[in-house]
């Protein structure tokens, strides 16, 4: 039994941690959030130079050949700095899907461009009615003389305004909620209409409208659902690792505050009622870390059903995230309500993580069906 990271993983963690500390301080992060693009092209180039954009890709495409553990190590540090650059959208989702089901030619052409930092991608799978159900797809793709054309709309597409290319889910056969009949397509940004807006965690998203948009089939026609489930799991692991970094940061900030803020002539951390609540948030964080490790072991070693562990992880991140940010704001009192303090921003990111790729209730339902039915 060994929960140590490898030397390489420690180096990766230290490298990301150093970047967040030295080059991504709070003022810089806020300036990026307020900018038109909501990300820094300069930082993206730094990520490329430091090799971070290559982490999950196989060596044959120029990647680092990293595992889920490597991604976790990186995302946890990103969480501490609330990094806004679209690592999830371009590398984990867009790049991840290419690596899973792209043709040899698609992989050989596109993955090296991602690794160099020259290609931004996005995964457009949500529809306005779909909520957390991956099979709820009404966008259609029909085969014509010159390949497929897509019609429909996708919403809340992460990195939707910055993307050069999209991977879009569309129905090639079947009815709205059918598991069979969903396919993935590569679609150029120039062939869609997009409308951008901003989320409370600083992310830039877009709704995209497809009107006879040409799409290149990615993977097997009509059989995309298992792939979509697979990529959702990868995304959730990355997001939960990010959440872990956020929780650690929130707990540390709050603990520090309770040790310095004085009321009634003493530090508020001296009150037993608050001490017990701080202990609860500490334990919530440790339990979340354990569940991240459990899911990682299941995914990388196949020691237990990884899907069950992933559902459990997302449930716990949701529950403990709400506890931790709720207490962080409450213990900071009025200060916790200010936009100026970073606490509220970490809280917003945790809420967005909770609702991305299935919320707590969704995953608990999946867990129940898998384990009890």
């Amino acid at each position: 039994m060994n929960f140590d990271f490898t030397e390489e993983q420690n180096m990766l963690r230290d490298s990301v941690a150093r970047f967040v500390q030295d080059d991504y301080n709070w003022d810089k992060r806020c300036a990026i959030a307020a900018s038109e693009e909501g990300m820094s092209a300069e930082n993206w180039q730094t990520f490329a130079e430091l090799g971070w954009l290559s982490v999950p890709f196989a060596e044959e495409y120029g990647g680092f050949g990293g595992s889920a553990i490597d991604v976790m190590v990186l995302m946890e540090q990103f969480g501490k700095g609330l990094v806004l650059e679209p690592y999830l959208a371009t590398v984990i989702l867009f790049g991840g899907l290419l690596q899973k089901v792209g043709s040899e030619e698609q992989r050989n052409t596109l993955i090296p461009q991602i690794i160099e930092g020259g290609l931004q991608g996005a995964y457009a799978y949500l529809e306005r009615q779909s909520r957390h159900e991956l099979a709820d797809v009404t966008t259609t793709a029909s085969a014509g003389a010159n390949g497929h054309v897509l019609n429909g709309e996708k919403v809340v597409v992460f990195n939707g305004m910055g993307a050069d290319q999209f991977i879009v889910s569309a129905r090639t056969s079947g009815e709205q909620n059918d598991e069979a009949g969903v396919s993935l397509f590569l679609v150029a940004a120039a062939d869609v209409q997009r409308a951008g807006y901003q989320m409370m965690d600083g992310q830039r998203v877009a709704n995209i409208v497809l009107k006879d948009a040409p799409g290149v089939l990615l993977g097997e026609e009509g059989a995309a659902l298992p792939v979509m489930e697979d990529i959702a799991q990868d995304a959730n692991l990355a997001l939960c690792a990010e959440a872990l970094g956020i929780m650690e940061k929130l707990n540390a900030t709050t603990l520090e505050y309770t040790k310095t803020r004085e009321q009634f002539g003493v530090t508020i951390g001296s009150f037993q009622a608050l001490q017990h609540r701080m202990v609860e948030t500490f334990m919530a964080y440790e339990q979340t870390r354990s569940m991240v490790y459990r899911a990682l072991c299941a995914l990388t070693n196949g020691e237990e059903d990884a899907t069950t562990a992933m559902h459990a992880l997302k449930v716990l991140v949701n529950r403990n995230g709400r506890l931790i940010f709720g207490e962080a704001i409450q213990m900071h009192g009025g200060m916790g309500l200010t936009d100026e303090l970073d606490v509220g921003h970490y809280a917003k990111r945790l809420m967005m993580i909770n609702t991305s790729f299935g919320d707590g209730d969704y995953h608990q339902t999946q867990f129940n069906e898998r384990v009890y039915n």
Partner: protein
């Protein structure tokens, strides 16, 4: 024991219902939601209530109150909420006015109360300070006597709508001797007095309602002090109890719950509505059951007050349970909005966005964090119950 309405009360309910339907127009609602038009719209709305004679149901009749029974007040508030209508801004009508008519002199009553009734003055509250939050008695803003004036120096924080206010009521320190609570006075300060500076505080709901108010050698006539010097804490405590009875927000929570159910029925996940989803049902009914109990807890407190008792530590319980329920409902609303819960105000309309309530859900969820902090944090309320009720 009964909670049935009489025929007169039912007729009153119809009258109130009709008033809200006619007076609380969609045009007003639109203007409430825009920061540029909000202040004028609120004043216009409060004047409609004034013209109807209903703007101050909690005041004694002699000063312009309605002379209603508690049941009528309960009906009035329930109908307001059912209509989705806005309540009045509390700082003047519900907070400083009771202090003025209870502890102020005749001159102060004549000067301030009619203007509050007609919404001619906008009031804000100057209690909390950077170093005095839960521990309010730690406040340091000094008022030093100079002839017929006090000279005020210090800073107040979390002052809601100070940017609109004509007047601020403040707790200030007039003595540093003896118990901390015994050196505090209650002052009414004209916001146009030289030396006052309002600094905006942007909050986590991406709005600006909170402020810091600085006082630098601000001259305040002694005539603007309520009651006796160094007795301000007593007056403020009486006022805080008033603040807490309204804070349960039962009527608004009932309306929010009803809206949640409608939305939950319309939101479909994989062919099943959220309202029929077992996990969502459990979370919803957990809140609904607490709210059912709280409605009667509030009625019990009202009944005690009606039979001559004062709202004391019971109002702390209303505040704690009421705000917990409000926050639980806001959280459910966020989950209903799913991935739209984070949407910031945008130029896209609801049709382009594909969603109706995501941004509102975000705003009320984020600002809703304040409810367990302001008006005496829930931790302080628990201290009050522990001490005053349980004798611990």
């Amino acid at each position: 024991m009964h909670t049935q309405f009489t025929a007169e009360e039912l007729a009153f309910r119809e009258e109130v219902r009709a008033f809200y339907k006619e007076a609380h127009t969609p045009e007003l609602v639109e203007r409430f939601s825009n920061p540029a038009t909000m202040k004028d719209a609120i004043i216009e709305w409060q004047r409609k209530l004034y013209d109807q004679g209903w703007v101050a149901p909690n005041w004694p009749k002699e000063y312009g109150g309605t002379g209603w029974t508690d049941t009528q007040r309960f009906i009035f508030d329930s109908e307001r909420s059912a209509a989705g209508a806005r309540g009045v801004i509390p700082f003047g009508l519900s907070m400083v006015a009771p202090v003025i008519y209870t502890f102020g002199n005749e001159e102060q009553k004549a000067r301030f109360l009619p203007r509050i009734l007609k919404s001619e003055d906008w009031w804000c509250q100057g209690y909390s300070e950077p170093g005095a939050g839960s521990d309010l008695a730690a406040l340091k803003t000094r008022a030093v006597r100079d002839g017929d004036d006090y000279i005020v120096n210090g800073a107040k924080i979390w002052t809601t709508y100070a940017q609109y206010a004509d007047w601020i009521f403040c707790l200030v320190r007039t003595s540093t001797e003896g118990k901390r609570q015994e050196g505090i006075s209650f002052l009414l300060i004209d916001m146009t007095t030289p030396g006052i500076k309002v600094n905006p505080i942007h909050s986590i709901d991406n709005h600006h309602s909170l402020n810091e108010v600085e006082f630098n050698d601000v001259r305040v006539p002694v005539a603007n002090r309520i009651g006796e010097e160094n007795k301000g804490w007593t007056y403020a405590k009486a006022l805080l109890a008033h603040e807490r009875t309204g804070i349960a927000g039962v009527a608004d929570s009932k309306r929010n719950l009803a809206n949640l159910k409608k939305r939950a029925a319309a939101e479909v996940n994989g062919g099943r509505s959220l309202l029929s989803d077992p996990l969502f049902q459990k979370r919803l009914s957990d809140v609904e059951i607490e709210l059912m109990a709280l409605e009667f807890t509030e009625l019990r407190v009202l009944a005690t007050v009606a039979s001559g008792g004062a709202p004391g530590a019971e109002s702390s319980m209303l505040k704690i349970k009421g705000t917990e329920i409000q926050q639980a409902l806001q959280e459910l609303n966020m989950d209903l909005a799913a991935y739209y819960q984070g949407v910031l105000p945008t130029d896209l309309n609801a049709e382009q966005l594909g969603h109706e309530f995501g941004s509102d859900a975000r705003q009320s969820f984020m600002y809703g964090r304040a409810a367990t902090i302001y008006g005496g944090s829930n931790e302080v309320q628990k201290n009050i119950i522990a001490k005053a009720v349980l004798g611990l």
